[in-house]
């Protein structure tokens, strides 16, 4: 007899497999009829009474959602096959490979009706253009509206840029790496499962400092020093540092996660942190 926990584990694995299979059909344009919808529904129904945790219910919902997409693809597939346009791609490919260029062109010309369009100046547009030209002030008059700055430009020093807050005192990469080390240290001291609550990391004594830390954190995530874990149901966000900087995987879809750093949120966090 399987324990409840074991059964839930098996159920999770099966739902995960269902999701992966439906995803593969969707993304790789495979035949949607490879998916046995009845069997999947049976699996989903079988394990549904086991789910108590929100994550499991989310997994169940995702499996159903993916399955719905496959059913939609099946319907499109049937529609396409029932149209007069359906042709077996292999048959067509073979035919095209065997055909001479001239024959292909001849076939295409029988179905091609190119658009007719003129690109020609008319007397009317010439007249309009002349009228515009007459009313257009000379360039020297128009440029008077934008006087050139009298001060001659020169090179700014590094100190001046720091004073203007364009440059930081430290090099940005150095500052980012220090910030990353700070995150790793904090996670090892106060974190759980190698992660820490987002607000516990970015929150600071002043609002200005908090926004600066949030700004730096966004670079930590973008440049692969850390990642964000978002739990929408619990409305919680965690930040998890990587041991080594991760290189971006080119094919992986990047996702932007907007996080509002409002004064209200900051005050709420401060009240919570002081308790």
């Amino acid at each position: 007899m399987q324990s409840k926990r074991e059964r839930a584990k098996i159920g999770r694995e099966r739902l995960q497999r269902v999701i992966e299979m439906c995803k593969a059909v969707e993304e790789r344009s495979l035949d949607p009829f490879l998916v046995d919808v009845d069997e999947i529904i049976r699996v989903v129904r079988e394990f549904f009474p086991e789910w108590e945790q929100p994550e499991d219910l989310c997994l169940d919902a995702e499996a159903i959602n993916r399955l719905a997409s496959v059913v939609r693809l099946q319907s499109e597939w049937v529609k396409h096959r029932s149209t007069l346009l359906y042709t077996d791609p292999f048959l067509l490919e073979e035919k095209i490979k065997r055909m001479e260029k001239d024959a292909i062109v001849e076939a295409f010309l029988g179905a091609w009706h190119p658009i007719v369009e003129f690109e020609q100046i008319s007397l009317h547009s010439l007249k309009e253009a002349l009228r515009y030209w007459v009313s257009l002030p000379p360039l020297k008059d128009r440029w008077k509206e934008f006087p050139m700055p009298e001060e001659a430009g020169g090179a700014a020093t590094r100190e001046e840029l720091i004073r203007l807050r364009i440059l930081q005192d430290k090099a940005f990469t150095e500052e980012l790496e220090n910030f990353w080390n700070e995150l790793k240290k904090l996670v090892s001291e106060e974190g759980e499962d190698g992660r820490i609550r987002y607000w516990d990391f970015v929150g600071a004594e002043t609002y200005e400092e908090t926004t600066h830390r949030a700004f730096m954190t966004s670079f930590l995530v973008t440049y692969g020093y850390a990642t964000l874990e978002v739990h929408p149901l619990e409305e919680e966000i965690f930040i998890k540092p990587f041991d080594r900087q991760q290189r971006r995987i080119a094919k992986k879809q990047l996702v932007s996660i907007p996080i509002a750093i409002t004064v209200e949120e900051w005050e709420k966090w401060r009240r919570g942190a002081k308790k």
Partner: protein, 192 residues
Amino acid sequence: MEERSKKVSKRKAVYASKMKRAVHMLFYRRHKKPGVKGWELRKALGADYPKVLSILDEYLKPLDLQVKMVFEEEKPKSEKPALEELDKARFYITLRGDLTPKEAKMVGWRIDDLAGLAITIAYIISKKGKAPRKEVEELLREKLPGWKVGLNIDRYIRYGYLTQDENEQLYLDWRTRAEVDQKALIDLILSK
């Protein structure tokens, strides 16, 4: 009796003037893409613009031209589209009949490029309107020099025959929808 004939000739004059306006709008390019949207025609010609276009179509018949209507988004639910559906369609003037291979050269196409376009369109149609660029390139490489294949596909995209997404999947674009009778193309290829 005289009054009735006056009314008829006045109506004729109104339609003649609307037809002229429609010819100007349809033949001369107004935007980046050729063609005119239904709502633009309605604004310029009035709510009876479908009637104006059908009269114009009759006039163009002996010249081997036609008014072509293309639905870019959703296709109309019934055979006779409603005015709101027509507003979203795009109208073009296209050749009614076929070009001969000699004439095709005159409109600026080399036979190789035209054959490549025909193969690409036919292949995408057979793949339900979407095909990976790599597969199309492989197919074209059978008969076109390798260096030309990529350039040709880019050219088809630039002209509006094809479009490509970030996953390098090719789709048919607005110009194919406007110019190519997709069913006729497949039938003609398969019957050769």
